[in-house]
C-alpha cells in the first residue's frame, strides 16, 4: 500500500492518477482510496484533480457493471467528495455528465447497497448547487417509483438523500403529479412517523417536510391525496399536528406548519378546520415572537401572510393574539431582507379586509415610520413589500384623513411611481394612490404638485388592463368634489382623444370608470357650465357613442347620468335641448324595458323640465312635442313607479 505522506503536491498526485488506468484491480482500488483521501476536505485538491481530467475516468469506473463493486464504490465516493467542492467544481462535474451517470446508477443498482447510498449522497450534493441539473432526472414512472421505493425501504442516509433530491427536483405541477403517482406521499408519511423519543430525528423530518410542501403547493389534487395518506394509524395531517407542537425543534415545527398552510391554500382543508386553526396558525404566530431566531421569524411571517391572505376569519384569529402585532413590528426592524419582506407581507394580509385590524396595525408603535422609510430601501423587493403593506392599510378610509396625512406617505409613493418602477410595483402603487385620492384625503393638493395627474394619464395608455384601470380610477377619485382648476387640469392632461379611446376599451371596468370620471367632472353647476362651454361637442359625442353602441346596461346608465348632470347646468342644458338626436334617445329610454335605464332617463328629464328653473316652460313645450310627456304618463301608470311620484314634474 502506498505510504501516505504528510502532504501531496501536484507532481506526486500524477502517479496515483495514472494507476487509475491500471488493469490490476487492487492497484486501482489503492489509487482510488489515495485520491479520495487527498480530495476530502480540500477544495484546492478537488479543483486540481478535476483540472487534471480525472472525472471521466471516475465516471467510467463508477458505471461499469462488470467491475469489482469495491472499485465502483470508491469511485462513487470520490465523485461525491468532488461534488462537495466549489460551485465551479460542481458545474464542471455536471458538464462532464456526472448527474446523468448517477441517475443511471440509481436505476440499476440494488436498493440497500452501499453503492446506492454513495450514489445518492453524490447526486444530492450536486443538486444542492443551483442551478440543479433537473433535466438529468427524467419524469419516467419506473425511475420515480424506484426512487420512492428507496425513500421507503432504503438506509436512513439513502432515504434522506432521495427526499432532498426530489424536493429540489419538484419544481412544478407536472413533477408534483408525477411524484404523487409514484407514491411519494406514502414515503413521506413513513419519514414523518415517530422514531425513538416520540419524534422523528431532525435529519429525517426536515427533508420530508420540504418535499411535502413542494408537492402540495397550489396543487389541490396532491393535497387531497396527502390528506388521506396514512402511515400505520396516523394520516399525514395527524402526523403534521404532532410536529407543530412546542416541544419539537423549531425548523420542524415551521416545516410542518408550512405544509398545513399549503394544503389549506390548495383547497384540501377549509379555513375553519382544526388543523389550520389550532395547528398551523398558532404555531406560526408563536414562531414570530422575539425570542425566535431571525431566520425562523422571517419564514414564519412569510408563511403566515400566505395562510391569512384571503380568509377574513383567519385574519381575525391571527390578529386576536396580542403579541403578534408587536412581534411583526420587531421583525420589520431586523436587518435581513427576508425578515422585512415577510413582516410587511404579513401585515398586508392581516389588514386586507377588516377595518379594526387595520386600525390596530396602523397604531402599532413605529410601524408607519418603518413603512415610509423602507419604501426608500435600495432593495427593490423590500420596497415592493412595503408598498403592498401600505396598499392594504390604505383601504382604511378613516385613517386616510389622519395617520396617512401625518406620515406624508404619498411623498415616497409618488417618488417610487415616477422612478420607472416595474409592473408589479406600478400596479400596487397606483392602486394605493387610487385609495389615497379618495374624497376624504387631504393629500390631494400636494400630490398634484408632484405630477400625479400626468403620471396617471400615462398609466391609462399602458397595455396592461390593471394599470389602465388604476389610472382612470385614480383620476376619477381625484375629480370627485375637486376644485375647478383640478378638473381643468385633468381634462387638459388626459385629452378628449384619450378619453374616447378609453370609452372603447376592451375592459368594461375601464369604460365605467371613464364615464365615472366624466360624471365627477360634470358636477356642481358652475363647473358643468364651464366645462361644457369648452368641451360640449366632445362630451355630447361621447354620450351618444355610448348610448348608441352595444354596451351593457350599467354602462349606458352611466351615460344617462352624465346627461342628467348636464341637464342641471344652467347654460349647459341648452346643449341637450339643441340636440334632437339625444332628445329622441331620451324618449326611447323612458320606455326601455330595463328599469334602471328608465330611472336614469327620468333623472335627465326631471332636470330638464324642472318648473323652478328659468326657461322651463319652453323646454317643457319642446319635450312635449317630442312625446316626452306621453312617455312620462305611461311611466307614472306603472305599478313599480311609486317612488317616481316624488318628482316635482308630476305635480303641475
Amino acid at each position: 500500500m502506498q505510504q501516505l505522506t504528510v502532504f501531496m503536491d501536484i507532481e506526486s498526485s500524477r502517479s496515483y492518477i495514472d494507476e487509475l488506468y491500471s488493469p490490476d484491480a487492487t492497484k486501482v482500488v489503492e489509487a482510488l482510496v489515495t485520491l479520495k483521501n487527498s480530495v476530502i476536505g480540500s477544495n484546492r485538491q478537488k479543483s486540481s484533480v478535476i483540472q487534471q481530467g480525472v472525472v471521466p475516468r471516475l465516471l467510467q469506473l463508477m458505471s461499469d457493471e462488470a467491475l469489482d463493486p469495491n472499485i465502483r464504490l470508491e469511485a462513487t465516493i470520490t465523485i461525491g467528495s468532488l461534488a462537495k467542492g466549489t460551485p465551479e467544481n460542481v458545474a464542471t462535474l455536471v458538464e462532464q455528465g456526472t448527474a446523468t451517470a448517477l441517475v443511471e446508477l440509481l436505476r440499476t443498482v440494488p436498493i440497500g447497497t452501499k453503492l446506492v447510498e454513495a450514489g445518492l449522497c453524490a447526486l444530492r450534493s450536486v443538486f444542492l448547487h443551483p442551478p440543479a441539473p433537473i433535466a438529468a432526472l427524467p419524469a419516467d414512472m419506473r425511475l420515480l417509483t424506484r426512487l420512492t421505493q428507496i425513500a421507503r425501504e432504503g438506509t436512513a442516509t439513502a432515504r434522506c438523500c432521495v427526499v432532498r433530491i426530489l424536493s429540489v427536483w419538484c419544481g412544478g405541477h407536472m413533477e408534483q403529479e408525477a411524484l404523487c403517482q409514484a407514491g411519494a406521499c406514502a414515503a413521506i408519511a413513513a419519514m414523518l412517523a415517530n422514531g425513538r423519543n416520540s419524534a422523528p430525528p431532525l435529519a429525517r423530518a426536515l427533508p420530508a417536510l420540504e418535499l411535502l410542501a413542494n408537492m402540495c403547493f397550489e396543487n389541490g389534487n396532491v393535497s387531497q391525496v396527502a390528506l388521506n395518506t396514512r402511515h400505520g394509524d396516523k394520516t399525514i395531517p395527524e402526523l403534521l399536528m404532532c410536529l407543530v407542537s412546542r416541544d419539537k425543534p423549531l425548523p420542524v415545527a415551521l416545516g410542518a406548519a408550512r405544509c398545513l398552510t399549503f394544503i389549506h391554500r390548495a383547497g384540501a382543508l377549509t379555513a375553519d378546520d382544526n388543523r389550520v386553526v389550532f395547528g398551523a396558525l398558532p404555531c406560526l404566530a408563536r414562531l414570530c415572537t422575539k425570542e425566535m431566531p431571525e431566520e425562523i421569524r422571517a419564514k414564519a411571517a412569510e408563511t403566515l401572510s400566505y395562510l391569512a391572505e384571503v380568509d377574513t376569519s383567519l385574519q381575525r384569529l391571527a390578529a386576536i393574539s396580542n403579541h403578534l402585532m408587536s412581534s411583526l413590528a420587531d421583525i420589520v426592524n431586523c436587518p435581513s431582507a427576508a425578515a422585512k419582506q415577510g413582516a410587511f407581507k404579513c401585515f398586508a394580509s392581516l389588514g386586507a379586509n377588516d377595518e379594526d385590524i387595520r386600525k390596530r396595525i396602523i397604531e402599532t408603535h413605529g410601524l408607519m415610520k418603518h413603512i415610509v422609510s423602507e419604501m426608500k430601501n435600495p432593495e427593490p423587493s423590500i420596497r415592493l413589500a412595503a408598498v403592498r403593506c401600505l396598499h392594504s392599510l390604505s383601504r382604511s378610509v378613516q385613517q386616510l384623513r389622519t395617520t396617512f396625512q401625518d406620515h406624508a406617505v404619498w411623498k415616497p409613493l409618488m417618488q417610487l411611481l415616477n422612478d420607472s418602477p416595474g409592473t408589479e410595483l406600478l400596479t400596487v402603487g397606483s392602486s394605493t394612490l387610487c385609495n389615497l385620492l379618495l374624497e376624504f384625503s387631504p393629500a390631494k393638493e400636494p400630490m398634484l404638485d408632484q405630477g400625479a395627474v400626468e403620471m396617471l394619464c400615462n398609466l391609462t395608455k399602458r397595455p396592461e388592463a390593471a394599470l389602465r384601470l388604476n389610472g382612470i380610477w385614480a383620476l376619477m377619485n381625484m375629480a370627485f368634489q375637486a376644485e375647478q382648476k383640478v378638473k381643468q387640469r385633468i381634462l387638459c392632461c388626459l385629452g378628449t382623444e384619450q378619453m374616447f379611446r378609453l370609452l372603447g376599451d376592451s375592459d368594461t371596468r375601464v369604460i365605467m370608470k371613464t364615464l365615472g370620471l366624466l360624471r365627477n367632472l360634470l358636477s356642481t353647476r358652475q363647473h358643468i357650465d364651464a366645462i361644457m362651454s369648452e368641451y360640449s361637442s366632445q362630451v355630447m359625442q361621447a354620450v351618444i357613442v355610448v348610448l348608441e353602441g352595444s354596451y351593457p346596461a350599467e354602462v349606458k346608465e352611466q351615460a344617462l347620468c352624465i346627461l342628467g348632470n348636464i341637464g342641471d347646468g344652467e347654460r349647459a342644458r341648452d346643449f341637450i335641448m339643441a340636440n334632437e338626436d339625444v332628445l329622441r334617445k331620451l324618449v326611447d329610454y323612458l320606455a326601455h324595458p330595463e328599469s334602471k335605464l328608465q330611472e336614469a332617463a327620468l333623472f335627465v328629464a326631471s332636470n330638464l323640465v324642472r318648473c323652478s328653473e328659468a326657461g322651463a316652460a319652453a323646454r317643457q313645450a319642446r319635450l312635449a312635442d317630442l312625446g316626452v310627456l306621453r312617455a312620462l304618463k305611461l311611466l307614472g301608470a306603472r305599478q313599480d313607479a311609486a317612488h317616481l311620484h316624488d318628482n316635482d314634474f308630476f305635480s303641475e
Binding site: 482510496v33 483521501n37 476536505g41 467528495s81 449522497c121 436512513a156 423519543n197 435529519a203
Partner: protein, 241 residues
C-alpha cells in the same frame, strides 16, 4: 426549575431571627424519599464507557454489573481505533479511517478537518521539523485559514510556536500538551456519533453535570443559600454559611 427538597426546620441557637426561614436542606443522615436506583447509575456509567470508546471496560463492567447486552453502536471498534490514532499523533491514519467510515464527514465539517491537519502540523513542530512544518502549513492549512477567521487565529497560534526556541515554554504551549489532542479526539468522536444519528453525542453523565452547574447558577442569581457542589470531580458539597 428548583429541586423540591424536603423542608426541615433547623433548630438554631441564634434566636434573634423570629421570621421562620425556609431552608432548602438535605440532611444526609435522615432517610428521604429521593430514590436513585443502582440500575440507573450502572446505565449511566455504561453509557459513558460506550460513548467514549472504552470497549473492554464496557464489556467487563457489563459482566460484573450483570447488565444486559449494551447497545454497542456498530462503529465502537472503529471509533476506538480512530481515537487511539489521533492521540498518538498518527493523523493520516486517523483521517483515512474516518474517510472509510464516513466519507462525507470531513467534507461537511471543514473546521474539524482543519483541527486534524493542525494536529499534524503540531506533530512536525514537536519533532523540530520546522521547514517541513512551514511547507505543510502553506500547502494544506492555508486553505482553511483563508475561509474561516477562527481557523486563521488558531493557525497563527500554532505557527507562532516556531518562533520560540523552546516551544514547550511558550505562551501557546498548551497546543503541544496531550490534552489538546484528546480534545480533538473527542470532537471527532462526537462528530462520528452525530453522523450516525445517535441521540446523545456526549455521555449522559455530561448532561447531568451540566444540569447541576446550571441549577446552581440559577440559585446563585436569586441569592439563595444552599449546599453547593464546589468540586465536580470529587462531588464536594459545601454547606452554606
Amino acid at each position: 426549575m428548583l429541586f423540591d427538597f424536603p423542608k426541615m426546620s433547623f433548630d438554631t441557637s441564634n434566636n434573634s431571627s423570629n421570621k421562620e426561614e425556609r431552608k432548602y436542606y438535605h440532611d444526609r443522615n435522615k432517610p428521604d424519599d429521593l430514590q436513585i436506583s443502582r440500575t440507573d447509575m450502572n446505565m449511566l456509567i455504561m453509557n459513558y464507557l460506550v460513548t467514549e470508546g472504552f470497549k473492554e471496560a464496557a464489556l467487563k463492567f457489563q459482566q460484573e454489573a450483570g447488565l444486559q447486552e449494551p447497545a454497542l453502536c456498530s462503529s465502537l471498534d472503529e471509533r476506538i481505533m480512530i481515537r487511539e490514532a489521533v492521540q498518538s499523533g498518527r493523523i493520516p491514519d486517523a483521517i483515512a479511517m474516518v474517510n472509510a467510515l464516513h466519507p462525507e464527514l470531513l467534507d461537511t465539517d471543514r473546521y474539524l478537518y482543519f483541527h486534524l491537519q493542525q494536529l499534524q502540523l503540531l506533530e512536525l513542530i514537536r519533532a523540530g521539523r520546522a521547514e517541513e512544518a512551514l511547507a505543510f502549513a502553506s500547502a494544506t492549512l492555508a486553505e482553511a485559514g483563508a475561509n474561516d477567521n477562527n481557523a486563521l487565529t488558531e493557525l497563527e497560534r500554532s505557527l507562532a510556536l516556531l518562533a520560540f526556541p523552546d516551544p514547550h515554554a511558550s505562551p501557546f504551549a498548551d497546543l503541544l500538551l496531550p490534552s489538546h489532542s484528546q480534545k480533538i479526539a473527542s470532537e471527532l468522536n462526537a462528530a462520528i456519533l452525530k453522523m450516525e444519528n445517535q441521540e446523545y453525542t456526549n455521555p449522559k453523565l455530561c448532561s447531568l453535570l451540566r444540569m447541576i452547574l446550571w441549577s446552581q447558577s440559577e440559585l446563585d442569581k436569586h441569592n439563595i443559600k444552599y449546599p453547593k457542589m464546589t468540586d465536580l470531580a470529587n462531588a464536594t458539597i459545601e454547606q452554606p454559611k
